[in-house]
Amino acid sequence: MADNVIEFKKVNKSFDETRVLNEIDFEIEAGKFYTLLGPSGCGKTTILRLIAGFADVTSGDILFEGQRVNGLPANERQVNTVFQDYALFPHLNVFENVAFGLEIRKLKKNEIKIKVDEALKLVHLSGYGRREIAELSGGQQQRVAIARAIVNEPKVLLLDEPLSALDHKLRKEMQGELRDLQRRLGITFIFVTHDQEEALAMSDQIFVMNAGKILQSGSPVDIYDEPINHFVADFIGESNIIPGKMRQDYIVNFDGQDFECVDAGMKPNEPVEVVIRPEDLDIAPIDTGQVNVTVDTQLFRGVDYQITAHDAMNNEWKINSIHPTKIGQTVALAFDPEDIHIMRYGETEDDFDARLETYD
């Protein structure tokens, strides 16, 4: 418990009549890379603002290193933020921007110089100190914003969709650099994004949010392989979600057939949803797989072909395959019991975790 830098206890937040956060509970351990992932308006940025101290909870407690910090103003918290629009000070040059926090803390001039130079070096901007902000590209401004935050050596660094304004290539590059920076500095990063790919690539731990609630938390692999419900399965990556029935432990019925699977702990004949990832499906000659489907569309995406097809029961299937097929052709889909993931309707995260414990 001593390792928790931040803890939320039954935190609620409302603006006027609208409730944006609903009974949020979580713990943030020191030195890890966390991501709050969810569609826009799900409350992820509000959580960040609560941690930073820009907003106050409606009810509940926020603990920072075990101390309650509700109502503590932003300028007295040991966290720093990298803003979505960078929020650099346009009247100051790069050096002065990065030095801002240190000057507020009244550090000595030469000490400030050493720290700022070091921070600029960390974000690969050595020699840019005398540049004006308006003279920098978007990617460079982004780095200045990061340097300005980390130079203060915060316990926790908050990043509010910092990469959303960058182009695809630069974003990929910055993802790697941020991850690398976090490992080198060893401070906790809390990263907010709506981009699931970004979340999977960077995080130690992901919180998936929707409509003011945390739906699931876990490592990227856990969340991708074992989504708790329809929303998470759909939001994280692509998936085929088919309604089915749990015959008994390890046997699920969907598409009019019984399939062997690796999930258990449900009631007999309980209605469930079945998730199969498009990349887990292999295309085989007709009648040699588990399900026969007819190909509707095929899209070449560079790495693979994105194929949509329908089966005899008129269920849609998405398949990612490196081998092309023909539109209108009937093929078989082959998959293993491990590729099938079963989701119960309305299961809470605690029940879900407890159920997995029983047979993992």
Binding site: A52, G53, F54, P73, A74, N75, E76, V79, N80, T81, F83, Q84, D85, A87, L88, F89, P90, H91, L92, F100, G101, I104, R105, G127, Y128, R130, R131, E132, E135, R148, A149, N152
Partner: protein, 273 residues
């Protein structure tokens, strides 16, 4: 010459109409004679009279002092007012304050002047330098608010958050982030108030007294007895001063831009090494 169109002709015409009276005035300031009926020969005579007219010189100085002081004070008050309107939490309060400000902006000078006159006489305030200064401050404040407020609204909200986030107090956020960022608006407000004060006639005409006068009021009272060419000489000098100011402002802008470009190039060269 394909670009020559009727619109260019129109533009030229507009400028001629705007500038011709001024050049006419300037031209006759060099007349030997005492009227603008016909030009009888070149001389500096009216400039000599102007420079030896100590009453006129003191009025020029009065006008400048009033303009400088009133716009300075109005800028301080107006900037604080704009900050106040910006930080008003309720939309109704914000819009109410802004409307009150705008009403003062659009109401005719005559009404403002008359109401100040009534106000000052009611309070028993003696008319003169003090009353002119106070009323100039009063009508300049809405102008400053109107120039500064858009600049504050332009500030990204996150910039203020960022200042707090980096440990700044409210005061430090104001002085180190907000004020520097809206400085262009504050300067624009100051110069706007300055020019409004310089050429105000109506309000000053009402609230002045005790032998205190400003340029516009003085020129008006002299013009009633037929315009003296000394006024032409004065106008010429003022026109030249404002021309120099405009040119100076332009050159300063170009100089700053060049210097910035050079700095970028130098920095790039250093990084590329």
């Amino acid at each position: 010459m394909k670009k020559w169109r009727i619109s260019n002709l129109y533009l030229a015409l507009v400028f001629i109409v705007l500038y011709l009276p001024i050049f006419y005035l300037i031209f006759y300031s060099f007349n030997v004679g005492d009227t603008m009926d016909h030009f009888s020969g070149f001389s500096w005579r009216h400039y000599a009279t102007l420079l030896s007219d100590s009453r006129m010189i003191s009025i020029v100085l009065n006008t400048l002092i009033i303009a400088l002081l009133s716009s300075l004070i109005a800028t301080i008050v107006g900037t604080m007012g704009a900050l106040g309107i910006y930080s008003a939490k309720k939309a109704t309060v914000k819009n109410g304050l802004l409307s009150l400000n705008n009403v003062l902006m659009v109401s005719p000078d005559v009404i403002i002047g008359a109401s100040f006159l009534i106000f000052f006489t009611f309070l028993g305030f003696s008319l003169g330098f003090g009353s002119v200064l106070l009323s100039h401050i009063a009508f300049s404040i809405p102008i400053v608010v109107l120039m500064v407020l858009p600049k504050i609204n332009e500030l990204p909200k996150t910039m203020v958050d960022a200042a707090y986030d980096l440990g700044a107090s409210s005061w430090q956020t104001l002085t180190k982030v907000i004020l520097p960022a809206i400085t262009p608006g504050i300067f624009a407000g100051y110069f706007m108030a300055f020019t409004y004060s310089l050429d105000d006639f109506a309000v000053t005409f009402f609230v002045t007294g005790n032998g205190f006068s400003t340029l516009s009021v003085e020129i008006y009272s002299r013009a009633r007895q037929g315009v003296d060419l000394e006024v032409n000489a004065l106008s010429t000098l003022m026109f030249i001063v404002s021309l120099l100011l405009v040119v100076g402002y332009y050159l300063l802008g170009r100089y700053n831009q060049n210097r910035r470009l050079q700095r970028v190039k130098a920095a790039e060269a250093k990084i590329n090494q």
